[in-house]
């Protein structure tokens, strides 16, 4: 039974990692593909490399927060901690799937944090509300910080870039900047999001933090190569309509923003960071990039996600406790 539980929990983590790789890979180099700076294959190789490096080198910060920071899973009975890990991953994944079906822009980070807290409450584990509050505050500041950075970067770069870069070097320099900033986005994305897949697994003590980041990174890679390329293609060729300097400013702002939170071990939404940065860049141009309806929907999903995934996690683990007589 124990082996089975461990196996299913690992598979669930891999599924979450796959989903992250499949859906969010386009955030980093989709624009580079769209502006034909890179072809699809080159973009995928770079996203894989930098996403994995981010997960491996800095993923442990956020992995520790999700695994031990919200609920001290390392202090729970191991079987109970594994149940918690399995249910939290399942609840987060279930809500992501449902929200995708309903076309809601939700974040896996928000979903897993809510699910861990909900599952923790179900087994009366000591949920660390102070850390949860810190995370919530950071979520509020993720798009705001990115917007401010995006606004500043675009304002500065748009004014100085064409003055300091000789005309004949414009194209290669711009291409270089877009690729570099895109790789930086991929790196910070891997570093922050790998925890969504394996944070709880590592917290439950099934595997070490280092091994978990390798497994999580590999699952994300799998998502990128099996499905992510389709999303990159769509986003790159059909949707993102950013000028090169704008794309660079958005990517740099978003990556720095996420990197700061990653350093503090805070799981944040890389997607919200990108939306914030795009909003900031749009402000410089005086363009209403996002209308009120769209902003309302994003904010609603942001508020609802942790609560819904938390309730799902709580109910499922409570149900399991009753039916399987665990934790008593």
């Amino acid at each position: 039974m124990y082996i089975f539980l461990v196996g299913v929990t690992l598979l669930m983590g891999i599924a979450v990692g796959w989903s992250i790789g499949a859906n969010d890979a386009a955030n980093s180099l989709g624009t580079a593909v769209g502006s034909r700076v890179l072809n699809l294959k080159q973009a995928i190789v770079l996203i894989c490399i930098f996403g994995f490096l981010g997960a491996y080198f800095q993923g442990s910060h956020v992995v520790n927060t999700i695994g031990k920071g919200i609920v001290p899973m390392d202090q729970l009975d191991k079987p109970l901690a594994i149940y918690l890990a399995l249910v939290a991953s399942f609840a987060a994944c279930a809500w992501v799937v449902l929200a995708t079906y309903w076309k809601m822009p939700i974040s896996t980070s928000h979903s897993i944090v809510g699910a861990v807290a909900g599952a923790g409450l179900a087994i009366s584990a000591p949920v660390r509300w102070k850390i949860l509050l810190d995370i919530f505050i950071c979520w509020l500041f993720t798009p705001i910080g990115a917007a401010v950075l995006g606004y500043i970067f675009y304002r500065v770069f748009k004014n100085i870039f064409y003055r300091i870069v000789p005309r004949k070097y414009l194209r290669p320099v711009l291409a270089g900047l877009i690729i570099t900033s895109g790789c930086y986005v991929a790196y910070t994305w891997g570093a922050n999001d790998v925890a969504n897949a394996v944070g709880v697994i590592s917290g439950s003590g099934i595997i070490s933090v280092n091994i978990s980041t390798i497994i999580g990174g590999a699952a994300i890679l799998l998502g990128i190569v099996t499905w992510g390329y389709k999303v990159i293609e769509t986003v790159g060729s059909e949707i993102a309509h950013l000028l090169p300097i704008m794309a660079f400013s958005v990517q740099l702002a978003s990556a720095i923003n996420v990197h700061v939170y990653t350093g503090f071990g805070i799981p944040v939404s890389t997607s919200h960071s990108i939306v914030g940065a795009i909003f900031g860049v749009g402000l410089v141009r005086g363009v209403h990039v996002l209308n009120l309806r769209i902003i309302r929907e994003i904010v609603f999903c942001w508020l609802a996600t942790p609560f819904i995934s938390g309730v799902i996690g709580f109910l499922i683990l409570k149900g399991l406790m009753v039916f399987l007589k665990i934790g008593g």
Partner: protein, 222 residues
């Protein structure tokens, strides 16, 4: 509209939905334009020239409102940093919707110039052609609502119905022109009536163009 969780993809879809909702408002305004035109035709057939003038003025005002909505949609499409996946189709759709109101307004203007009482046979055919326009635009409106509600089957059925109505309108135009040329009319009235027949069929053509877009969206989303 593909289901997509990626935030950039989602933003594109949200933009597309927003444009389609504006398109619904636009088609409602266009529907009003057509309805006022039908009122003008009814008044003309009944010989009530004052009511005809009032209805023609309403057509003009409604067309102006549709123009404002068109500008808003074009701005949204051209200003956005993250655009819907089918932006070219959408831009074409916006322009086509606007042409429906434009052509209806053109038909109303021609009707305003016709002062001579037309023979029964011509009036009957003008009335039939107008009914076809009203039916087509109603189906188009339903089609857009169906796309927004993601009822793709109904959207396709409505677009096909518009296609059939356009075919009927082609036949109706032929009948109307036959009626016009077999009637002894003053040269100016003959010319205006002939032009009106062209415009009446033109409106259903534009409605069909807009319905084709609904078909494209519905097929792509399948």
């Amino acid at each position: 509209m593909k289901e997509m969780r990626n935030i950039l993809g989602w933003l594109g879809m949200a933009e597309e939905e927003s444009i389609l909702q504006d398109a619904q408002k636009h088609v409602e305004e266009t529907y009003k334009t057509v309805t006022y035109f039908a009122e003008a035709v009814k008044a003309f057939i009944g010989g009530d020239l004052e009511a005809k003038t009032v209805a023609i003025e309403k057509v003009r005002e409604s067309e102006h409102q549709a123009d404002i909505l068109r500008s808003k949609m074009v701005n949204e499409l051209s200003e956005s940093l993250l655009l819907p996946p089918d932006r070219e189709d959408l831009m074409h759709f916006v322009k086509t919707l606007d042409k429906i109101a434009d052509w209806t307004n053109g038909a109303a203007r021609l009707l305003g110039f016709i002062e001579q009482k037309l023979p029964e046979n011509v009036l009957k055919n003008i009335s039939l052609a107008t009914e076809l326009i009203v039916s087509s635009v109603s189906k188009l409106k339903e089609g857009i609502q169906a796309v927004i509600k993601n009822d793709l089957k109904k959207a396709l059925a409505d677009s096909e119905a518009v296609g059939r109505l356009e075919h009927d309108a082609d036949d109706q135009k032929k009948t109307l022109i036959e009626a016009i040329i077999h009637t002894k009319l003053e040269p100016a009235t003959l010319l205006l009536s002939y032009q009106l027949a062209e415009y009446l069929e033109g409106v259903t053509d534009k409605i069909e163009d807009a319905a084709d877009f609904i078909k494209v969206v519905a097929i792509k989303a399948r």
